[in-house]
């Protein structure tokens, strides 16, 4: 750490290509669920005494995320909406303050900075936003938009800025004559290019791209992606590229990180991740994408249910509630087939998507009439009896406590590294299946 601190002031030249440029260590970001003067108060009719409770609910949007971005590379960050990828991006940029953790940029911990010092570091880190409509001020001309960051950091005089803005517009593939136009005169793809020009204006080292092409038509996406790549080569840029579209990630990234419910589940070299996906979530994600090839045999829809709430995320592995490969609890002696049936039964009881209550019919339907023997079987039978007594909640809870909560997936947070099949980069997987 001391070494890092000493090199903090050396500037861009201190980091060579391939060396870590950004190091994110154990970053967490929690939001209060409600904001406002009295949001720490809530009403609870069932409480003893005063029907008022204190304390806030916290949305655990990002939890304990660590990774490194090397100079000159593109790190793809992929995940579904609500997984915390945009929050993470904004935390890295210090648009949000991390609840915990450190963000080292060229050795300086951004989490420690504030005020003018933080503002000065923004020169080296820029961002490109998702929505080409709203990321440009509709009342500002394009030229001024591109010049604004330069002006904020006192770069050049006003003529110099204007010249540079026009040069940059040309660089990103726009007509410099458009300098005096308003953003609404441009199409979505062109606006995204203006965004690029603005980000490049202060000569940054690192650009965070938050879904830069997801709002664009496919044919325009390709144009913008190609431009981004060319610019990266020309200016030696480092990208953190966030997207929900794995096809885009596959095209642009060097390494890929997959996020689920605020945590990283897998991080590996691009080829390794796509050819040898190890985490069940990554596999599900890859299987879900519609492939533009009618002869491809799709799996599709392998995941059930919805992402749980980040207010009260599942213990252990956060993906376990939807995971098709939940590990058998160690204390039960169940075969794979039996475990499969128990889990299917548990899922159906929880979703309550059948109306049958007769014990025999249930055991026939979900266990082929063969309820497993031993401890596990007793618990299943007890749950079936609960259903017969029409107490579905008790049955669901009993099964959850007896099985799902006993799995190692619920008890320990996974964090493993596997040997890569492709390339030499580290391949980290947060799944207990890798525990050997």
């Amino acid at each position: 750490m001391t070494e890092r601190a000493s090199s903090a002031s050396d500037g861009a030249d201190a980091v060579g290509f391939g060396e870590p440029l950004v190091e994110i260590q154990n970053v967490s970001k929690h939001f209060p669920n409600e904001e406002g003067m009295f949001s720490w108060l809530s009403f609870n009719r069932d409480a003893d005494g005063l029907p008022i409770e204190t304390g806030r609910e916290w949305v655990r949007a990002v939890e304990d995320v660590s990774f490194t971005i090397r100079k000159g590379e593109t790190l793809g960050l992929v995940g579904e909406s609500g997984c915390g990828k945009s929050t993470l991006a904004r935390t890295i940029l210090r648009l949000l303050e991390p609840t915990e953790g450190s963000i080292y940029f060229k050795g300086t911990d951004l989490a420690d900075l504030s005020g003018e010092r933080l503002r000065n570091t923004r020169k080296d880190i820029q961002m490109i936003f998702q929505d080409p409509q709203s990321s440009l001020d509709p009342r500002m001309k394009v030229g001024k938009i591109v010049e604004e960051p330069m002006q904020a950091h006192g770069m050049l005089d006003s003529e110099g800025r204007a010249a540079r803005a026009q040069e940059l517009l040309e660089k990103v593939g726009l007509d410099p004559q458009h300098y005096n136009r308003y953003p609404h005169a441009f199409s979505g793809g062109q606006r995204q290019r203006i965004n690029l020009a603005r980000a490049l204006s202060v000569n940054p080292d690192f650009i965070v791209c938050d879904e830069p092409v997801s709002a664009l038509d496919v044919s325009i996406q390709a144009q913008v992606l190609n431009t981004m790549r060319d610019l990266q080569k020309e200016f030696g840029l480092t990208y953190l590229f966030i997207a929900h579209d794995l096809s885009v990630i596959r095209h642009i990234s060097d390494r890929v990180a997959v996020m689920y419910l605020g945590q990283l589940v897998e991080l590996a070299d691009k080829q390794e991740l796509f050819e040898n996906p190890t985490h069940p979530y990554t596999q599900a994600l890859l299987d879900s994408i519609p492939v533009p090839d009618p002869r491809a045999d799709g799996h599709r829809g392998v995941l059930e249910g919805d992402v749980p709430s980040p207010i009260d995320p599942p213990s252990g592995c956060r993906f376990r509630t939807r995971c098709p490969e939940l590990i058998t609890p160690a204390e039960y002696d169940l075969t794979d087939a039996e475990w499969e049936r128990v889990r299917s039964f548990m899922r159906h009881v929880k979703r309550r998507d059948f109306t049958e209550t007769d014990p025999d019919a249930l055991s026939q339907r979900y266990f082929d009439g063969q309820i497993p023997s031993g401890d596990a079987g007793d618990k299943v039978s007890a749950a079936i009896d609960d259903i017969a007594a029409d107490d579905w909640d008790a049955a669901a809870e009993r099964l959850q406590n007896a099985f799902a909560e006993q799995s190692i997936c619920a008890r320990e947070e996974p964090d493993y590294e596997v040997d890569p099949e492709y390339g030499a980069d580290r391949h980290t997987v947060a799944c207990h299946l890798c525990r050997e």
Partner: protein
């Protein structure tokens, strides 16, 4: 083969705006057979949403259906002809508004929109809305309708359907809301469902769930679908036949396998080349040059010629119709004069300078705002 369930013939929809007439849909024809899932694919601005809203006569002002004939189960949903004075008017064969609303909308043809939040009223419970819809359209008692509503919710995979019946739309996730809309669309067991980008707003894993659900339900109810999308992946996954639209026109019409493996129109080909693939690493993408011109002032001749890699002089003058271009074993139509089916001067015509295929440098300065 039996007569098609839905036949759209030479449909034209125009928007009369301050800046001029926008020919959003300019003479498209396609049909949907029973039990078939027909795709309508194209980029934004191609006119695909307008085209499907015209089927149900839901085009909103300043838009107007100015020509064409839409027939559903032998009934004329709309027939517009141009009179001697140049004004277009509906013919007598068109079924009246009231009858369309009572008998066709919801009962025979249902629509699923992209944003489920806009289709559900936020101040009523999900179950209540579904129940009311069933009660109105299927003449059931309130009791029975409620039971049917819960059954439908369970059918489309809403967990704890009975308990969630009383929830409000905002308490559902995006995917769940889309399931509710599918339940609503299926409630009257319509013959045709029009799905306007129903999965675009959803995450991939949820999209996959919905696509699975549609597959499953289609098998069970034998419903026909018109599926509007911009995603070639979705097309490949679920469609039986596909219509590719560009700037208000259908440029290619083919069974899904032929569309991907025996592509006949340069636009379709370019579109397929420009998408990054999830299943393989593509080093260099090959984007379509430029942007789609505005429908208010479309290019003369073939509308794609300004961006087409195969464009020749002849393309500037001839606007080809969509005709059968292959051997006739399968029905495969394309609107490109490079095919022999068009007896034109394409062969001898000199190629147009549309720049190199490299893409981005050309595309920008020639953007649509310039001209």
């Amino acid at each position: 083969m039996s007569a098609p369930l839905l036949r759209v013939d030479d449909l034209q929809v125009q928007f009369f705006t301050e800046d001029g007439v926008v020919r959003a849909v300019d003479g498209i024809s396609f049909d949907v057979r029973e039990g078939e899932l027909v795709g309508l694919v194209g980029e934004s601005g191609a006119g695909k949403s307008v085209a499907v809203s015209a089927i149900m006569r839901l085009v909103e002002s300043p838009g107007r259906i100015v020509g064409g004939h839409i027939e559903f189960k032998g009934e004329t949903l709309i027939e517009v002809e141009r009179g001697d004075d140049g004004e277009s008017y509906r013919t007598d064969a068109t079924i009246p508004d009231g009858e369309l609303r009572e008998r066709i909308r919801g009962r025979e043809i249902a629509i699923i929109f992209q944003d489920p939040m806009e289709s559900l009223n936020p101040v009523f419970t999900v179950g209540g809305q579904l129940r009311e819809f069933i009660e109105l359209n299927r003449d059931l008692s309130e009791e029975d309708a409620r039971e049917e509503a819960v059954r439908m919710l369970r059918e489309v995979g809403i967990p704890e359907a009975a308990a969630r019946y009383d929830d409000y739309p905002h308490q559902f996730s995006g995917g769940m809301r889309q399931r509710v809309l599918i339940a609503m669309a299926l409630a009257c067991e319509p013959a045709l469902i029009i799905a306007d980008e129903p999965t675009t707003a959803l995450d991939v894993t949820v999209e996959a769930q919905i696509l699975d659900l549609v597959d499953e339900l289609q098998e069970r109810y034998d419903t026909s679908f018109v599926w509007v999308t911009h995603d070639m992946g979705v097309v490949a996954e679920i469609c039986d036949r596909v219509n590719v639209m560009y700037l208000g026109e259908i440029v290619e019409q083919a069974p899904v396998d032929d569309l991907f493996y025996d592509t006949q129109h340069p636009y379709t080909e370019a579109l397929l080349d420009s998408v990054p693939r999830p299943d393989e690493t593509v080093e260099e993408l090959n984007p379509i040059k430029g942007v789609m011109p505005e429908a208010i002032n479309p290019p003369a001749g073939c509308r794609f010629h300004t961006r087409c890699p195969d464009a020749r002089e002849a393309c500037k003058t001839t606007n080809p119709d969509c005709r059968d271009v292959t051997d006739g074993v399968t029905e495969h139509r394309a609107a490109c004069i490079k095919h022999d089916a068009f007896e034109t001067t394409y062969e001898g015509s000199p190629p147009l300078e549309t720049g190199s295929g490299g893409g981005f440098d050309v595309s920008l300065s020639g953007g649509e705002t310039d001209d």
